[in-house]
């Protein structure tokens, strides 16, 4: 088990370096430099431009900047944003809980609906129900998030007035963030209705962000289940006269879950990408929107630091997924 863990972690190192190179290089390949953008239409004299480039260290050779960056990273310093003059790590940590909260709820939403939907579709293969679930999930999978989010806001918030339009909690609640997770902070604050308000604000964005993962999970569960349901041991279980829910729920689903857990793990990376749009629409103060803003401002430190941290999160999540396999399916555990 330890060897397994060790190999997995060792494999992360090259990936980490790769990401650092890519993040560092790509933002610099974009034309336009941050100093030029700071000045805008106003412009600045070439001397002042040069002086600022030197002040920020952008005039040094590329590899020298990279090594400097890498050296700092290993000391836990991701640099300072040229725009807000705040340490990148600090900004990331303030915003990250919001993204995690939203992603977890989206994943919960996707799994709670996607998994049963997939199972039902597989069990009732070829039925009207199966076809409906599959076509709805195909539609969900192809949904442009931006449009979908706006549509839900206009319908549920604008017309039906069921949900708030955007934000994380009603503005009448006001307390200092403790954990950064609004639901937990609201609960800790002890203010009446605060937790309900925070949850209420989560409904729409989580549904929007969860739409694509939901569709993927439903489709994957269905095909994995179909495969497992044809296995001999399922037939044996049925022949033994086990209750149908036991056959499906315990014998088939447990084995189908391996594929599904992999898919859920892979979705986390996609979720962070989807969060960029969802966060922008719902005015959700998370890291997705922050990275995009930083790219358009050529805020090198924030982009490279942010991407590195996000990549780290995705890698850790995938590592956890690998470990989860063992728990879900003993066959993998014994092989190791």
């Amino acid at each position: 088990m330890f060897r397994f863990l060790f190999t997995k972690i060792a494999l992360l190192l090259p990936t980490f370096f790769g990401v650092s190179v890519v993040a560092f290089t790509f933002i610099r390949m974009l034309p336009g430099d941050p100093v030029e953008l700071l000045a805008g239409e106003r412009g600045m004299t070439p001397e002042r431009h040069a002086a600022l480039m030197q002040q920020y260290g952008f005039d040094r050779p590329f590899w020298e900047q990279y090594l400097h960056f890498l050296g700092k990273v290993f000391q836990g310093d991701l640099g300072t944003s040229i725009v807000t003059k705040q340490p990148v790590l600090e900004e990331f940590l303030t915003l990250f809980p919001a993204t995690v909260e939203l992603s977890l709820c989206a994943m919960l939403f996707a799994t709670l609906i996607g998994l049963p939907a997939g199972v039902i579709a597989a069990v009732r293969r070829g039925s009207f129900l199966d076809h409906s679930i599959m076509s709805v999930s195909l539609a969900g999978y192809s949904m442009p998030i931006f449009w979908w989010g706006l549509l839900l806001i206009i319908f549920f918030s604008g017309m039906l007035e069921w949900t708030p339009v955007s934000g994380r909690i009603s503005l009448m609640y006001f307390f200092d963030p403790v954990t950064g997770f609004m639901t937990i902070d609201a609960w800790l604050s002890g203010e009446e209705g605060a937790l309900a308000s925070a949850l209420h604000h989560l409904v729409l964005p989580a549904a929007v962000l969860g739409t694509i993962p939901l569709a993927v999970i439903a489709r994957q569960t269905r095909s994995a289940m179909l495969e497992v349901l044809q296995e001999d041991y399922v037939r044996t279980a049925r022949a033994k006269g086990l209750a149908p829910w036991r056959v499906v729920g315990l014998h088939a689903l447990r084995n189908a879950l391996i594929t599904v857990v992999t898919v859920i793990g892979l979705q986390v990376g996609l979720l962070l990408a989807g969060a960029i749009l969802t966060e922008t629409i719902f005015a959700w103060p998370g890291v997705g929107k922050w990275v995009v803003d930083s790219i358009s401002r050529r805020d090198y430190a924030s982009v490279q630091g942010g991407l590195l941290l996000i990549a780290l999160v995705v890698m850790v999540v995938n590592l956890c997924v690998d470990l989860l396999y063992g728990l879900v399916n003993p066959r993998i555990r014994y092989q190791r």
Partner: protein, 528 residues
């Protein structure tokens, strides 16, 4: 479940909107983004100024709300020596700084605060100069380091600015955001932790910062001891909402009272919305097409005049601005004093244009139009504008290729003196002074820089230099009017449009005024 949700929401919304009527009045502003920080002199974005200088701080002089007129603020009065080199300000007494968790002021505002605020920006060895990145774009951009020789404390309530050369727009410059006055006493107290000075701002302004959560919300409360009287509202909240259509949904639902930058596509619905007042005003900006007057054949004014006459500006206003714009005939917008009403714009006349081109001996002309890659107030869709001009010029036998670059690249490449083609660009005014448009954009100093037409025309330069050094406003107006006539005659630009700014506010908002500088000022605004 649905019903309880609905009930909960209804009560929450009722509380949010009804609360002001009974107890504290809270105004919610749906803003478009996070401020870069809270010390205005360090930054250049309007979003930052909205969150800082316009609510938290005062300046020696300020723009009267909703106009470009200068009025006394922290300075009660001022005098200028006849040579225009010394400005002496008499400071207001009894002005209180905010009391915050970190800081309780022990004294009123005085000359030390003025010195601190400017010395931080101009003295490289000042203890606060290098704090928070330490670059002062506006201070440098407005040529303050060359201009200010010294700032002297005459006594506790009098400060003298000594200049290196007379500069009439000086007073207007001091009304700009970068000239906001900070507390020197607070700076001393924070000297062990200087970054906090910029993150937890203390000013004399009508609102004080209570809390800020990046990308989410900024909370202010009214400054109880504000020198001009406490603001009519008690709390001010910025709900940061990046998407314009979502901002409108929030406005409709009463989740905010005032919103920024509406989506042009929503304007129609807003006009008809019973809950919303759609305010509008011409913006303090100009969108133009700058020829390169150094390159043949555009060094010939006749060619430039001909091409101007070939552009159908009204079609551009309709298609690109969708009505949210006005044809520009001068290089400065009508909200600025000295705007020359008598200027006659080049008439749209393709036949005359063809004739003028023939007269100049031009045939089969091929050129480029540069289209900006970004949306700006003075040009919401440069690509579309370029295409319309391309079609117009085709009518008079001129072939156009449209080029574009990424924004930072565009700004720097378009400065080149040997640039090929005409550039679409624009300008938003900083201080409401005509000099801020005419000298920056068309003066000889700007060639190779902000003067994209590379136009250095001695008779024009002479006028704006003369107008720059005298303080007599009537005489300055006279010079600037003449300068605008020269611009029209010589046509370094096709002056295309001034945007019209729309500001949707809810009906219960009282006396919100559109700021010509594009900002949002909430002192003086009330809720019904």
């Amino acid at each position: 479940m649905k019903r309880t949700k609905h009930l909960f929401l209804a009560s929450a919304a009722a509380l949010l909107l009804a609360a002001p009527a009974q107890a504290a009045k809270t105004l919610v502003f749906c803003s478009e983004g996070s401020p870069e920080g809270f010390t205005p002199s360090l930054y250049t974005a309007g979003t930052t100024f909205d969150a800082s200088s316009r609510q938290i701080f005062n300046r020696l002089v300020e723009f009267d709300r909703g106009t470009t007129k200068i009025v006394p603020a922290l300075a009660e009065s001022w005098s200028v020596t006849p040579d225009g080199l010394e400005y002496t300000f008499t400071l207001r007494r009894g002005v209180k700084f905010h009391s915050t968790k970190e800081f309780t002021p022990t004294r009123d505002f005085n000359a030390d605060d003025v010195l601190f605020s400017f010395d931080r920006q101009r003295q490289k060895d000042h203890p606060y100069h290098g704090v928070s990145g330490g670059s002062y774009e506006y201070f440098d951009g407005m040529s303050m380091p060359d201009l200010i020789k010294d700032i002297v404390k005459v006594d506790d309530y009098a400060v003298k600015f000594v200049l290196n050369r007379p500069e009439a727009p000086m007073i207007a410059n001091l009304a700009m955001d970068f000239a906001s006055i900070h507390s020197a006493e607070y700076a001393d107290k924070m000297s062990g932790n200087k970054d906090m000075f910029d993150q937890k701002p203390v000013g004399t302004g009508p609102f004080q910062l209570v809390a800020y959560q990046k990308d989410a919300v900024i909370r202010y409360k009214a400054h109880p001891d504000y020198w001009a009287g406490k603001a009519p509202i008690d709390n001010l909240v910025f709900a940061i909402t990046p998407d314009p259509s979502v901002r409108y949904q929030k406005l409709k639902r009463g989740e905010c009272h005032v919103m920024t930058y509406p989506n042009p596509a929503d304007l129609d619905a807003m006009g008809k919305d019973a809950a919303v007042n759609l305010l509008q005003q011409e913006g303090l900006n100009v969108g133009y097409l700058a020829y390169n007057t150094k390159m043949a054949p555009f060094n010939n004014p006749l060619v430039r005049k001909a091409l101007n006459a070939a552009i159908n500006k009204q079609a551009i206003i309709d298609a690109v601005f969708q009505g949210a714009g006005k044809v520009a005939k001068n290089p400065i917008p009508p909200t600025i004093w000295s705007y020359n009403e008598r200027t006659v714009d080049d008439p749209y006349d393709p036949a005359a244009a063809r004739q003028m081109l023939a007269q100049a001996g031009i045939s089969n002309l091929k050129t480029k139009i540069w289209a900006m890659p970004v949306q700006r107030p003075y040009n919401p869709n440069a690509r579309r504008m370029a295409e319309l001009i391309q079609a117009d010029w085709k009518q008079v036998g001129v072939e156009v290729e449209i080029v574009s670059y990424e924004w930072g690249e565009y700004l720097s490449r378009s400065k080149a003196e040997d640039r090929d083609g005409a550039v679409l660009l624009g300008w938003t005014g900083d201080n409401g002074d005509p000099d801020n448009f005419l000298a920056v954009l068309l003066g000889c100093d700007g060639v190779g820089g902000s003067n994209r037409a590379q136009w250095c025309y001695p008779p024009f330069e002479d006028l704006i230099q003369k107008a720059k050094v005298i303080s007599d406003r009537d005489l300055r107006t006279h010079y600037y009017e003449a300068a605008q006539t020269l611009v029209k005659d010589q046509a370094p630009w096709a002056t295309i449009a001034h945007s019209v700014v729309f500001k949707p506010v809810r009906k219960e908002v009282v006396d919100f005024r559109i700021d010509p500088f594009g900002g949002h000022v909430f002192y003086g605004v009330d809720l019904k």
